[in-house]
Symmetry: C3
Subunit: 327 residues, 3 copies
């Protein structure tokens, strides 16, 4: 990675302006602190005014080669609340069907827009498209690669829920093999001192070695379990649930065996700290019982809302309109 | 129905603010009069200025589990003309495909939006989703259940066309069995004194007993016919045509027998009052001859336009920005 | 064509207000000069401010019966940058599926909007819909008929790239039989004195006689070639490439024979003038080598961007807000 296609951001807002955002690795600790402060200001702005007009006349183009309701909606709402407008293209309506290259599709969209959001099923494709994209390109997920804005909202959620990210025990539970969001979030948490990571998954869906090696290299403590035990539950400050998809298991019987073990119910919550933050990237399909929604520690809908604030902050920084509001 | 999920509105604008709108039964006569006044003001606003900025920074989220071009377009145009922005999700792009519950889908959308519009093919589903939706939820049709904003625009049309709704003879013609809009409109008309209702349909597509019982309980006169006769045509103040769909008939031959009987042509119009209001919820597929479009009594395109004004009024009341314009 | 459905525009902005735009034949030379000036002002507006608010509260409705990402995006971005909002309907979500006529679909959309953009696969359909559409209707392509806004952006591109359209040698290369954009552009170029047209195509994909007759009738020089020769390349001021689609050839072998002949590479560019303007309506599928993108004479992405400025100018003229900016 060179500076050309993937600038590393700092606490200086100028370091963000006009840049692509392709990978969580662009985020340093000071950069993250700036973004989190900006996101908190966005939350306040939305609460008081709904939004403002700082991006009036600006256009965001989103290109989604696989559907993602939430990510699309979140980016669009974020841009619109800052006064801008959106145009959207999905796979079925794109010129890719006429044999156009991804690079041309993205570059064409950039002709009409001030910033482009791209989601594509192939790892590395977003970074490749960025090389010829004359406007800032934001990675909204590239297959098994990255989905860096998701990690930003996860961090923002911990910050807003407990005030401080350092010195927390964060547990990842469920399918940790395929959970892209868990991988990115785990890596970003390594920026903070005193973090302790816990992984709880079926043995066949464990956290990949690659992530564990990275965490180890940063001197962060990590522990792995294959059942969700009472004493482990009691130590968690953050419990990050992920979706366990039936289709990830070679045999349906294997799924049936584990699906109830990795499920949070009101009974599970009784075993957790009163200050626990219960997160989930959503959608859920049974990993968290509906009755848990009433528990004040259930943070997943606030987490989803934070996605909009984190993206407003990112967009404002990239567009050079952070720290100001012309409301 | 408790106040919790389905507040009854009054002439006090405060009684609307932040509430769900799920059913026409929430509308009292004073509430309706307020909404109609507000809608007339919206019509004037659009005529003079196009719109205003009172919802600047606000976002409407629409979720449609079955397509409805007009309802989607009408809500979006209404919200945008008041200065807001829209995000839209349809069935094929929603996370329902990943096994998510309707309640979670709606609640997720509510994280990004200030108000949510929902259309779903299952009766009662919108009301169920409302129970966990933290933002105002507007029912845009729930299967054979309700489509309450349609009735509001129908009433607005009578009001704008003839100035007064009381003491009118309103005839419903066509498929009255499946015509959800006819059912709701008939019920709402019962709020007005001196109303007389006429039903004209093939015998197999008659107005349901349930609606007739309700009308009777309100002391409103009603008459049923199975052919569209000259003397009946001459008594109508409002003629509300509905679509007669071929697929509703068990045998194609039955359809062929009636399709021309329940059809409005220039000849039909000659038998009607010069002050008649000819309505149709559209789309039409032959029930009204194109040549009738030139007749000044043909109100169906104005009726469609009124849908936008009625929805602007409803949105303004629910969002707490009625009666003011910051243009 | 009568004035009723297809007004001819002049240099007086009033002649555009509230009119349909259905055909390039509505454009006179003075009208075109007005539009190009307006488009240049739009480019400056976007560069400096992103956009303005002159269409605040206004709504554009687009109805696309065949997908066209670029045209949709371009119209939407154009309208939004002037402060307006957009609603969009595509074939799969339209009521045409319920048996509605095109005229009714368009007229319904017009109930919510201030201007309607229509694309339809059947030649003449847009003009037919215009007859009953109470709001300005803009033709965004009607099958093998016209796509008049495309020609406007092509002309704008020549103007912006070389400052002057008169006395230029413009070469069309590729599939000239099916290239609707080439036909319209060739006709419009005939408005300018001293123009010389060159056609280079496989023999089976030659420029239609109809176009050649029209060009001849305007006293414009034209030359036809079936190979792309060095000496011809050296005379071109503008090289307008078009997509050669495999499916246009009766036999795959015929396609393989010609596809590399009508292809622009860095080597081709060495044979051209240093002031050449290389254009392509995009998407491309190999007619222009990616390596040519670095050449400053490669104007196709600027051409695409100009589509937005040309449409902003057209919309401003039709909506009666040209020549002013309330930014």
């Amino acid at each position: 990675m060179t500076r050309d296609d993937c600038t590393v951001f700092s606490s200086d807002p100028q370091s963000w302006v006009g840049q692509h955002f392709l990978s969580a690795t662009q985020i340093t600790l000071p950069a993250l602190e700036l973004l989190l402060r900006e996101a908190e200001a966005m939350k306040e702005l939305v609460k008081v005014h709904g939004g403002d007009l700082r991006l009036q006349g600006r256009v965001l183009g989103s290109i989604f080669f696989e559907p993602s309701t939430r990510t699309t909606s979140s980016f669009q709402a974020a841009f619109q609340r800052l006064g801008g407008s959106c145009i959207h293209v999905n796979e079925s309506s794109s010129s890719a069907q006429k044999g156009e290259t991804l690079s041309d599709t993205v570059r064409s969209m950039a002709c009409y827009c001030d910033v482009v959001v791209l989601r594509h099923p192939v790892q590395g494709s977003v970074r490749e498209a960025a090389m010829t994209c004359p406007k800032p390109l934001l990675n909204a997920g590239d297959g098994t690669g990255e989905h860096p804005t998701q990690s930003l909202l996860d961090l923002l959620t911990v910050k807003l829920e407990v005030g401080e990210i350092r010195n927390k025990t964060v547990a990842f539970v469920g399918d940790l093999k395929h959970g892209r969001t868990a991988h990115s979030f785990a890596r970003l948490l390594c920026l903070f001192s005193g973090i302790r990571l816990i992984y709880v998954s079926p043995q066949s869906l464990a956290m990949p070695e690659e992530v564990k090696k990275y965490v180890d290299s940063r001197g962060i403590q990590q522990h792995e379990y294959f059942t969700l035990d009472e004493d482990v539950l009691a130590t968690m400050d953050v419990l990050y649930m992920t979706r366990v998809q039936k289709e990830r298991f070679p045999r349906a019987a294997d799924y049936e065996k584990v699906k109830d073990i990795f499920r949070v119910t009101p009974q599970t919550m009784q075993l957790c700290k009163s200050s626990l933050v219960l997160m989930h990237p959503l959608p859920r399909v049974g990993e968290i019982d509906d009755r848990v929604d009433q528990d004040p520690r259930a943070a997943y809908f606030r987490q989803m809302e934070n996605g909009m604030y984190a993206r407003m902050a990112l967009i404002a920084l990239i567009m050079g309109v952070s720290g100001v509001s012309n409301h």
